[in-house]
Symmetry: C2
Subunit: 335 residues, 2 copies
């Protein structure tokens, strides 16, 4: 059976580092994934309310094949400024696409909505995300906090605090898969009214509590549970995520990796992919394993990517911790 990498984090994929910043007064934050070398990238949006930057270049038919970093941020559309800060930091290191002697760091970004926590007050003219994006990049390393951290700081799900999650998996082939998710969905990550995670069939060990599926299985498991009483108008949502591998993939394969990882959303969140979620997955292939998968091996990567994403989502909620003034309870303090 495949097992997690040593950290059970996306940084088990060699060539990636993660940096984060939180502002607990703002109840928001930024998570940056830095690529030591440019990584082949793709993306797929399945939510109806995305907030993004530099995604068009990721289409398989467009020219740029690799990126230098990916930024996930709170702050709704204001949080897209975080990519500017990461871009500035990369430029200072001399990292980026070289275009006629000029360095242009390629930094796709996506945001989630957490303004309802109070994140849109006392800014002055400009929001603080640009500086947070710089700071997060400068802190990047192999270890980082889960739960109420980075882009997951202000995240909420139906009935429970959301958070930042990550997980990894090492396949028998030697290929490693890693997932990172800022979990802020309109739907629920647990089965019905229980504390049991929907993603339980994919859990390895007790990485998100080890409760398994509920017994008996509740009859209301199929009933949609929404974060807000009036789900469409009272606030916004979004799960934004990164799926990464050290396999050598083409740009179209990175797109398929992103599509496949969305099935991890469907297996970890109910309902997922709604019109008021901006659900998005970025895919990164660092190639650091040196392994070019054949078609069958690629199919197994995609399937395990969905499972790893489901685990990362559950871990994000599982690791959230209570902070004074929370709108919703953290998983650890409930039930």
């Amino acid at each position: 059976m495949p097992a997690p990498g040593p950290k059970n984090l996306i940084t088990d994929v060699a060539g990636l580092r993660v940096g984060q910043v939180e502002d607990h007064a703002l109840r928001s934050g930024v998570t940056v994934v830095l690529c030591d070398e440019p990584a082949v990238a793709g993306f797929e949006v399945m939510g109806g309310a995305p907030g993004t930057r530099e995604t068009d270049l990721l289409h398989p038919h467009n020219m740029v094949e690799t990126v230098n970093a990916i930024v996930l941020s709170g702050g709704s559309a204001y949080g897209l400024d975080a990519a500017s800060g990461t871009q500035a930091w990369l430029r200072e290191q001399g990292i980026g696409l070289s275009v006629r002697g000029h360095i242009v760091p390629i930094v796709p970004a996506a945001i989630l909505f957490d303004l309802v926590n109070g994140g849109d007050k006392d800014w002055g003219r400009y929001p603080p995300y640009r500086e947070m994006g710089y700071e997060a990049a400068s802190r990047a390393g192999l270890d980082f906090a889960l739960g109420t951290a980075g882009a997951g700081t202000g995240a909420l799900s139906a009935g429970l605090k959301g958070g930042l999650g990550s997980a990894s998996l090492r396949l028998a082939s030697g290929i490693t898969i890693g997932a990172l998710a800022a979990v802020n969905p309109a739907g629920s990550v647990t089965v019905g009214q229980t504390r049991h995670f929907l993603a339980a069939p994919f859990e390895i060990g007790d990485e998100f509590g080890g409760l398994g599926l509920p017994l008996p299985f509740p009859p209301d498991a199929a009933t949609p549970r929404w974060k807000w009483q009036d789900p469409a108008s009272a606030g916004a949502n979004t799960t934004i995520a990164i799926i990464a591998t050290d396999a050598k993939l083409t740009k179209p394969e990175a797109k398929r990796l992103a599509i496949a990882a969305h099935d991890g959303f469907a297996r970890a969140i109910w309902p997922a992919h709604s019109p008021v979620d901006g659900d998005l997955v970025f895919a990164l292939a660092t190639g650091t394993s040196g392994i070019t998968p054949d078609h069958s091996a690629a199919m197994d990567i995609y399937a395990h990517a969905a499972a790893t994403m489901a685990r990362a989502i559950a871990r994000g909620v599982y690791e959230a911790r209570a902070v004074e003034g929370d709108l919703l309870p953290a998983w650890g303090e409930r039930g």
Copy 2:
């Protein structure tokens, strides 16, 4: 709790009829959904190997808003001819888009691969799907067979025969949702090596056997199971489906309905949406309920659409019956 409509079929959505043809020597067939009045339509492809006709016009930004029928067929790319037959039948009835006095029936179509059963032999120059598409349209009514029928006749899944499934759901609002699926995935519809359907949390009554989830939940539930030993090269696959509602939806909303229904694939098939599946959902909104959902009501339609699709997929495999020469056992004869 919402309950199925009187037939638990897609034809519980008023304004739709279904006709089917099977050729048991060919081990293939055609399923046609006819719209009594032109229905607003959309689609979403998530598999890597689709086979389609008349999908480009379904994009929300393109002109034609409604369709007259949708065709699902076996026969791989040859099966796209089935739409020609349905088109011919509609033209004879005077049904279609009127363009400067000419009748042009709009008939999107998708196919699945079932040639491995023997479906590509003894045709002569042209395959038989065009005539099957005509015949299926001429037989359309409110009742139709599930399992080894229509486009599901030659369908296979990992370890079990596939088939044609359908299900419906009536919401408290009075809106009805219906799903139809020809289930031929590379992955499995049951949990691990068990006979328990992945879609069990959504089952209503014992519509697909009433086994619930397996106890204990098997540790290999996350292990990908593929139909073919060499999953990428030894054959092809695809689940093609239609999600329908009698709500009044816009064309962009029909697109979201199709996207949402793909989560039903993710909840009923593991792995789903692979590079060798042409997984596709068409969405139809007949508007016959007269109800225009607000945003919150639309979100509930989308969520229940995913659940209804998961049920239709499980029912397709559950209803499959054994036929001499089968490559895989039918669910009912296994275990």
